[in-house]
Amino acid sequence: MLSYALRRILQMIPLLFVISLVIYGLTALQPGDPVDQMIFGNPHIRPEDVVRLREAYGADTPWFEKYWTWLTHAMRGDFGYSRDFSIPATQFIFQQRLPNTLLLTVPALILSTLIAIPLGIFSAVRQYSLPDYILTFLSFIASSAPVFWIGVMVLFLFAVWLPQATNGAISLPPGGLGSAGMDPSAGFAAFWGDRLKYMILPVMVLMLREISSTLRYMRASFLDVINQDFVRTARAKGLPNRSVIYKHALRNSLIPIVTILGLSIPGLFSGAVLTETVFSWPGIGRALLDSLVSKDFNVVMVCLMTLAFLTVIFQLITDLLYGLVDPRIRYN
């Protein structure tokens, strides 16, 4: 298994190299450059200014030359500055944005998994019962309703309608990271209490999606397992239902869920563009979208290369975990 893991890790190096080339190339192929934006933002700009600015921003340098410069700097750990925010791209992503994203996505994934797995089992065990129909129906609604709509509705409900209806007794903030002026110097409890208040709605909206999809997978996987021979045998030898479900069926039905959860971990780092945008949450999803639109190359590269790295790493971890949960799989 160790040699398999090492081989896979070595294969990652050329793979990440190719990914970086493709990402840089595709981003560079987008039309326009920062100077185009300046031309249309200023009717008084002169042709000589345009020529000077094109040189200054390296707008006419071929993309593969720029890529080579980026690569040689990146190998030395220098990922350049964010052109939009004038700070190092790594500082922008890893210090300013990623922690905020993890604050939303990690609790949302943990809570939704803890809720969805029992609900999925419940739904499968009571297949075609009224509660099963209700859960199935609700999960379809949650996965098909657009996040930007649900988000705004939830905001309106908790930040406008309920405060008015209850005279302020129930009220949640309409988006943002925290109250203005609130910082850790206010004390641990005050700071995190405030932060928690702002987290409730976006985490709730993220969880709706997560719960609906994990519930559907869990239900399908569990139904698959409980109709197999070994479960029938367990029942036939007189084991109590609880024991059949939790000892025999559950462990086997979790194999596909491990895959899904393993692959959703890089997603924790990619953020949730729509949820972050609707709830004014400055996370990595919004940063990636904004940097793509404004062609802030260094930020795009840091974001996407981090995601690429995490994806291949967690793919490997998931593959190795298979060996642990499924005795039929051996890496020789």
Partner: protein, 586 residues
Amino acid sequence: MKKIVALSAFLLGAALASPANNSLVIGTSQEPPNIMDPWVTNNLAISTEVNQWMGAGLTGRNNDGSLYADIATTVPTLANGLYKENKSGGKVVSNSLTYTIRPDAKWSDGTPITTADFEFWLKVELDERVPAPQRYPWDGAKITKKDDKTFTITFNPPYLFAQVAGAPGLAPSKQMAAGWAAFDSATKGMKPGEALNDQWTKFISQYTTSSNLPQVVAGPFKPTSWKPGNSLTLTRNTNYWRKPQGGESKYIQSVIYRFIPNTNTLKVNILSGQLDAVATVGLTFDQALDMQKRQGNKFTTFFAPGAVWEHIDVNTRGQRSKDLGLDDARVRQALLYSVDRAALVKAMFQGKQPVSNTFVNPLAPVYDKDVMAYGFDAAKAKSLFAAAGWKPGADGILEKNGKKMILNFSTTAGNAVRERVQQILQAQWKAVGVQVNIQNYPASVFFGPDMLSKGESGKWDLAMYAWSADPTLEGGDLFKSSAIPNAANGYSGQNNSGWSNAEYSKLQKQSETEFNAAARSKQFAQMQAIWAKELPSLPMYFRANPYTRVNDLVNYDMTAITQYPTWDAYRIGWASKGAVSAHTQK
């Protein structure tokens, strides 16, 4: 259980108290990338709006365009002799402004503002290594120091708008000296390009970013905290010298900008009472109309006349343009006569965005109010098409020499207002026999290098977009022949319709050096008459800037000249706290 109930009550309790005392919370949909960059290398509207709280200039302009002294003791004028025009052979060959800095003008740390701060600003602005977006008119400027508090700036060649916009900027030379020296030595002999630009970013980011707030500012407020992606807090700078009526304690003491990228969420924030005002970079026009309907007694949504001119460029270049008759002024006139712009702005904007007749803003001193106006007249449009040889075919579409008048009409995809305007115009043009196919592109493509500037290759026929410019600095540059983008000028000109008119260009050139206001207005009247007759662009309307604020807030207003409601920052305050209203939104 009790603990759970108590925690829930805490979490679900009132999210935020309303702004306490003399604070002000403003929402905006965009976060400035950086603030107080003296050389404005990142010139976004939101940066300008936010910077006005913290910035000061030698002179400033109020809502009606008249100048007031800020850092300077007096506004230089011809009458007081501080503004001079040096003539040779009857022509102005250079002009100059002399400023004296107020003795009490200080940076926020208490160090005096001196001539050196203006000299340093000009030196950096003109340094070849600095990516300043626009060098003109500073590339012809020179500062002559009289003493620490008095200097003269001379423009040679003369700068036409020197009296209005000739005051140089300033930068804290003492605070920036070490950083600049490091930049200077690190970039000696470096060629322009990304490596040099990175060095510039390294220099400027020491004074302008969320992790390195400006160390000193000159204006009435200073930055105290910037939480990236969330909020920016400014507090009153007691070292600022102009004091509002009744004392500054009666006016805003702290300002918090909240960054809310989704404009629907911004709306929810207003309705929930979390915001006192919304920046001009905030609500869309439609949302502002909706806000006006439901504002009640607490808020007012204003539609301030703007400096943004919405228009449709007609491509007059290339073989395709000839085939479609777009190089013929009669066809362009007919296209404008066919559309009912008055009804359009009434239906879509409740008349809040006035129809334009030329590219010149009515607030510009050179605007000609008698310029030809094209009212809706379908019959006249048809006769003009007929005169140009375009007759309806069997399917009702106009034809000439076997070619049908089928035009591609493009704008920025996803801009709901523009897309609705397109549909209305499409229907009206269809009624006179012109088939218009809508073909929109994302902004990055539409404003990219292969679209508007490449009219010659027939990339587009009609293109709807906007230009934004200070009306008092109107120079008529957009339509001069030398601004037609082509290979020779690296496709850098902005006359995208490709219209070339010798007489217009001659008058425009003359107006660049015409220092007599009356004579210049006369030249512009002729230019506007030519333009309105030729119609290289179909003028649509001047956009209004919507913004919302709580009724009690005073001196938070603007015009197309001041452009942002923060222009008079030191006097913004709550009437209920004793702030005195000096001006109101018209």
